[in-house]
């Protein structure tokens, strides 16, 4: 049903139509509206049977999901930022045990300094955890990715993270086609676990594995994720047939044919990027955009096919790999190995810094004119950092930067 609604609410309603049997909930902004709405849906009887469990931490939330999923229940939770990091040990475990848990991550920066606004540092930090990671471009896709995520998770027996930008998407009201129960039921069959805790047929799950087989198990984990490279487009195709709209898939090329310059990005910033691409195309600039929906598994071949013909690639990063630069860029570079082209990593929008059309116009023009370095920070306040850099140069023990900058700003220097 088409309605004007909040992103979180559309996600919660869609998740409810997926009929999860156990939901673990722990609050953290900007994910809270999702679990709040689910709490209401469960309480009102709209979603049953479903156990909605208020837990004492995200570590418990993911642990509870592990138990519930292993016992054969379709299981869901949502988190963000510090919460995701608080779960980390259990995240790896859920993936290693092959449990098809679905989790929404309302992307948010990680402290310190504490910051509740959007970037991708949280989910990107879990890129090697064994979870499949899908990034939504807009709220329509955020909602639509959930039935697909359950399908994928249960087909492969792997956990899936649906990442949606915090606030920018979660708290935005817009017109969203929220699927109906019957549609979702036709698309998503009830959960049939591959392996389940059952007294009539006891299995031991989570045994200790030594050096004689651990590498093999990890190899198979990798092989299984690679299967998702086929399953994701298949499920997206079926979704298009069932719901008559495009959502999901591995990648979203936009005006990439005959493009010299291609901008790679994930998540909600793609909307702005495509607008800028349109405007520059109207001025005759050969520029395109490549949205990556499936960050894990990373679609090396598909990315290579799209980017291989470009002359330069600009990767917009919403997270920073401190000490080296870009996270997505490293994956893009792997995809392009052996192909010579200009590659630029641009760190943008950290901690909720707006990424404006003006800034992107300037950025892309700089890239095309050859004025862009390998690692750039969009809209960096150079005055502020240079003062701090000077202080660092004076003394190796210059103190924490955040505090120094706060003092500067406070004293209006």
């Amino acid at each position: 049903m088409l309605k004007q609604t909040e992103g979180s609410r559309a996600v919660a309603e869609t998740v409810a139509y997926c009929r999860p049997e156990v939901i673990a909930a722990y609050p953290i902004s900007p994910q809270t509206h999702i679990v709040e709405e689910l709490s209401r849906l469960v309480k009102s009887g709209a979603l049953k049977p479903c156990e909605y469990v208020n837990v004492e931490s995200e570590f418990a939330a993911m642990s509870l999901c592990i138990g519930a999923s292993a016992a054969g229940a379709r299981t869901y939770t949502a988190t963000a930022s510090q919460g995701l990091l608080y779960m980390v040990e259990a995240l790896y475990n859920a993936a290693g045990l092959g449990l098809p848990i679905v989790m929404t991550v309302a992307n948010r920066a990680i402290g310190a300094p504490i910051n509740i606004w959007n970037d991708h540092s949280d989910s990107m930090s879990q890129r090697d955890s064994g979870w499949i990671q899908l990034y939504a471009r807009d709220n329509q896709e955020a909602a639509d990715l959930h039935p697909q995520a359950f399908r994928l998770a249960e087909e492969l027996s792997l956990p899936v993270m649906v990442c949606m930008d915090g606030f920018v998407l979660t708290h935005a009201w817009e017109r969203i086609e929220v699927p109906e129960q019957a549609q979702v039921d036709a698309f998503l069959a009830p959960y049939e676990p591959r392996q389940v805790l059952d007294p009539d047929e006891p299995v031991s799950i989570g045994a200790m594995v030594g050096p004689e087989a651990f590498t093999e198990v990890r190899y198979l984990a990798h092989a299984k994720q690679m299967q998702a490279l086929e399953a994701i487009p298949d499920i997206a195709r079926e979704f298009r047939q069932a719901f008559a709209r495009d959502s999901g898939g591995l990648i979203h090329p936009y005006a990439c044919e005959f493009a010299d310059t291609i901008v790679v990005a994930l998540g909600s910033v793609l909307g702005t990027v495509c607008d800028v691409v349109d405007e520059m195309r109207a001025d005759g600039v050969r520029i395109g955009a490549l949205g990556i929906t499936s960050f894990r598994p990373f679609p090396l071949e598909a990315v290579r096919t799209v980017l291989g013909h470009a002359r330069r690639v600009v990767v917009l990063e919403r997270a920073l790999a401190v000490g080296v630069g870009g996270i997505v860029s490293q994956n893009v570079r792997t995809a392009l190995s052996g192909i010579r082209l200009d590659g630029h990593t641009v760190v943008a929008g950290l901690g909720g810094r707006p990424i404006t059309k003006e800034s992107l116009h300037r950025l892309f023009a700089d890239a095309i004119a050859g004025r862009l370095g390998h690692l750039e920070f969009l809209d960096l306040d150079t005055g502020l950092v240079e003062r701090e850099l000077a202080r660092m140069a004076q003394s190796r023990r210059s103190g924490p930067s955040a505090e120094n900058i706060l003092r500067d700003v406070g004293s209006n220097r």
């Binding site: 049977p49 837990v55 570590f59 292993a70 016992a71 799950i205 045994a207 200790m208």
Partner: protein
């Protein structure tokens, strides 16, 4: 699944030998050749491991109490490691291990799934060592208690982190030597005034059932498991399980040492419901703490090179306090 293992008989515990004098329905679960044998022999625990003994009794009793419908969730620790080295498993019931600090929450998840599926016949037992329970898993355990999830959680207390090589835990008693509380200098071993009593913490949550037991009172242990399985909601069982390796005791002495822990008053055995103590096991033959401490190498520094009478007296006072607090002294019939 390997075929069910042939049951072997053991003579264990003070009352087990009297089994054949009892009516069949009153006999120990372990005396029943048809017992479930949840944890088969052939696992890799040390000889005389109290934890292996305790776990076998607990799970067999839990299975009998629920008609064989039990799912076990295990924390990381000796019990997990010695029972499931790939590609083998000693478990003849559905068993799940996730992490060191999350067994109570995982068990809550299993219970939630069963609730959602309307499977009230299947019951959940969570289990871990004292490290997994009183330290790293305490947050999850407290959450499980507070929600009153339908789980029986069992702590096998061997009073240290045995699986990683005998380091102290929050349940290590004062003056015990561990790899991280070495007996060096004036105040030997684990310090006084640290550590925590999880049974008392569990009681503070006012859950339906809390009990302590040892592997010296195996009939009592079975009975407590049956009582716990007869109730719904969060239940907690704290079982003292001597560890020959960590305590420095002979493999054949596990049950004797556990009994001395009871008889000295250092380990009070009781039951509680809704936060109130309802039943205590009186001490039939009280012994001075020294009798309990002497056979254990972890307390050797209290006896050589000289006897630390000051320290032993302090431990005696702790035992006396338990005896008074839980009213453990047998009434004298005059």
């Amino acid at each position: 699944m390997n075929a069910a293992q042939q049951v072997k008989f053991y003579q264990v515990g003070s009352l087990a030998a009297g089994n054949r004098l009892l009516d069949p329905e009153l006999r120990s679960d372990q005396a029943d050749p048809a017992r479930s044998n949840a944890l088969t022999c052939g696992h890799r625990a040390c000889q005389g491991c109290g934890e292996a003994l305790g776990a076998r009794y607990v799970l067999d009793a839990a299975q009998r109490a629920s008609g064989g419908k039990v799912i076990a969730v295990n924390a990381t620790g000796c019990l997990e490691v010695f029972s499931t080295p790939y590609p083998q498993t000693s478990w003849q019931l559905p068993w799940l291990h996730s992490l060191f600090g999350n067994a109570p929450a995982v068990a809550s998840g299993v219970a939630a799934a069963l609730r959602a599926k309307g499977r009230t016949d299947i019951r959940v037992v969570g289990q871990g060592g004292d490290g997994g329970t009183v330290d790293i898993g305490l947050g999850c355990l407290s959450g499980m208690f507070e929600r009153n999830d339908d789980v029986l959680y069992v702590c096998y207390d061997n009073e240290a982190y045995m699986n990683t090589g005998v380091q102290r835990s929050g349940a290590t008693p004062p003056t015990a030597r561990t790899a991280t509380t070495q007996a060096v200098g004036e105040e030997p071993g684990a310090p006084f005034g640290q550590g925590k009593s999880l049974p008392l913490i569990a009681m503070a949550h006012e859950i339906p059932y809390v009990a302590t037991a040892t592997v010296a009172g195996l009939r009592d242990l079975e009975a407590k498991v049956h009582r716990a399985m007869g109730l719904r909601g969060a239940r907690y069982l704290h079982v003292l399980v001597p560890c020959p390796l960590g305590w420095g005791t002979a493999s054949c002495d596990t049950v004797r040492i556990a009994r001395l822990a009871e008889q000295s008053g250092l380990f009070p055995v009781f039951e509680a419901a809704g936060g109130e103590v309802t039943e205590v096991t009186k001490i039939r033959r009280r012994v001075p703490v020294e009798e309990y401490l002497r056979p254990q190498k972890r307390y050797a520094h209290l006896f050589t090179p000289e006897v630390r009478t000051d320290v032993i007296a302090r431990l005696q006072r702790a035992a006396d306090r338990n005896i008074a607090r839980f009213d453990l002294a047998e009434e004298v019939v005059s």
